[in-house]
């Protein structure tokens, strides 16, 4: 009797390997989202500056990530910059760098939008009680902006998780790549391998991303309640 396709997931160390791959995906995404968010807040604050010149630089930075595909960024950094500067970086490190820079650009734009949407008078009334610019951002503007930017930020985070699947192309073994390897290994014994393995990978991505949008909804409800 031909073995059931689903058994491929439980053969040998397949399941363990898939989870190891998932950890690589999660690690790249989590670190990049964290660094990207922090840099993005700084960028967003700078972006609201009165200086036209500073604003143009921020805009240009964002457009570089919007116009140039992330895959090209990965290639340029992994093959180009490392050889040009004669440094040795692992694919995972390069991935984290590129995704952090991208996250910062998009997050900066989200933070800028949220800050600019706040009523101008909030700044005045904060200043009127003697807050310095730092306190003003810390206690008045950022907390209010966070609420407004939450949907966009969560959307960005899920996009980043999904886009990490590109890292296979610079040799990082993430969950998608592990899946591919397993399928190739068992192609003959189990013809339906790709259905089961990719189906499982599909569910894994869902398990990572779904809580994010769930958290965002819970927070939004709590803040509006």
């Amino acid at each position: 009797m031909q073995s059931l396709g689903i058994s491929i997931l439980f053969t040998g160390v397949n399941m363990q390997r898939l989870f190891e791959g998932l950890m690589v995906t999660v690690r790249i995404a989590f670190i990049s989202i964290s660094i990207g968010s922090l840099l993005g807040i700084v960028l967003g604050v700078i972006w609201t500056s009165k200086s036209k010149w500073l604003r143009s630089v921020c805009r240009l930075y964002l457009e570089m990530f919007r116009i140039i595909p992330i895959l090209v960024w990965l290639f340029v950094m992994y093959f180009g910059v490392t050889t040009a500067l004669n440094i040795d970086l692992s694919g995972e490190t390069v991935s984290i760098i590129v995704f952090s820079l991208w996250g910062a650009a998009e997050m900066g734009d989200i933070v800028r939008g949220a800050l600019e949407s706040l009523p101008r008078h909030q700044v005045d009334s904060g200043k009127a009680i003697g807050l310095n610019p730092w306190d003003l951002y810390q206690y008045i503007l950022i907390p209010q902006a966070v609420k407004r930017m939450l949907p966009g930020a969560i959307n960005l985070a899920t996009r980043m998780v999904k886009t990490t699947s590109l890292v296979v192309l610079i040799g990082v073994i993430d969950v998608t790549k592990v899946g591919q390897q397993i399928i190739e290994r068992f192609r003959v014994e189990i013809p339906t391998a790709s259905f089961w393995v990719y189906g499982f990978v599909f569910i894994l991505y869902f398990i990572i991303c779904y809580p994010l949008s769930k958290i965002s909804r819970i927070l939004e409800n709590r803040w509006n309640g």
Binding site: P119, H121, Q122, D124, S125, G126, K127, A128, I129, G130, L131, N132, D135, Y139, I140, P143, Q144, K147
Partner: protein, 257 residues
């Protein structure tokens, strides 16, 4: 009832607290304020009247540095706010300001709004500040709302909280910028009553308003501004019965129906 926690001063004190000399302000090429001279003594209540767009609000905003001025000088407690190093964060603790649109911080409760400045800026003891805040809230009849969020309050209540927020910094002088202009008519009274009580207690105040009968009741002097210049500075009784200038007469006539 007494204003506990608010500086009580002797009305007769004639020490000059704030002096505006030759103030000049422009936006781009448009002159907004020109040749403004005014000195305010401790405990005095000045009401600024004038048609919309005459520069009244801008003048108030210049006094605590929310607007830069292009000429003249502002002397507060014998120190210039224009020439030399000005630490505006320090100055603003002593010059309280209340705005037309309340501008409470929507993500904080009433009590958090009030104690933010005293605790974070003035580094005062939180317990002591809370106590003062509660006394002030009690005085404006809002003690039971200390844990409410601004969105749960009416306009008049928000404005009273905004006044308390400014008072809790223990300012030397209070600036009121058309604080009842955005309120529904039935809520104007409750806010004006608070201001009147404060004036009686001896707070130094500069008030921009369109409430003429309130101006008459509260002011020591009326400053009438038109087209960015002071037209006259008069005692209220005189201003409302026989104003010196034609422009002021014209202005007052428009309010009579």
């Amino acid at each position: 009832m007494e204003w506990i926690g608010v500086l009580i001063v002797n009305k007769k004190d004639s020490r000059v607290l704030l002096e505006i000399k030759n103030l000049y302000k422009k936006y781009g090429e448009t002159t907004v304020l020109d040749n403004i001279n005014l000195s305010i003594s401790k405990g005095e209540v000045i009401v600024i009247l004038g048609p919309s767009g005459c520069g009244k609000s801008t003048l108030l905003r210049c006094l605590n540095g929310l607007e830069k001025i292009q000429g003249g000088d502002i002397i507060f407690r014998d120190k210039s706010l224009v020439n030399g190093d000005v630490n505006w964060q320090e100055v603003r603790q002593q010059i309280g300001m209340v705005f037309q649109n309340y501008e409470l911080f929507p993500h904080m409760t009433v009590i958090e709004n009030i104690i933010l400045g005293p605790v974070k800026v003035q580094k005062r003891d939180k317990k002591e500040v809370m106590e003062q805040a509660r006394q002030l809230l009690d005085r404006v009849g809002l003690l039971d709302r200390e844990n409410s969020y601004p969105r749960q309050l009416s306009g008049g209540q928000k404005q009273r909280v905004a006044i308390v927020r400014a008072l809790c910094m223990n300012p030397e002088i209070m600036l009121f910028d058309e604080v009842t202009a955005a309120l529904d008519p039935e809520m104007v009274r409750e806010v004006l009553d608070v201001m009147l009580g404060l004036a009686k207690q001896g707070m130094t105040m500069i008030v921009v308003t369109h409430e003429l009968s309130f101006a008459r009741a509260v002011a020591d002097r009326i400053v009438f501004i038109d087209k960015g210049r002071i037209c006259e500075i008069t005692e209220p009784r005189e201003f409302f019965t026989k104003p010196k200038t034609e422009r002021a007469r014209h202005f007052l006539n428009r309010f009579q129906y």
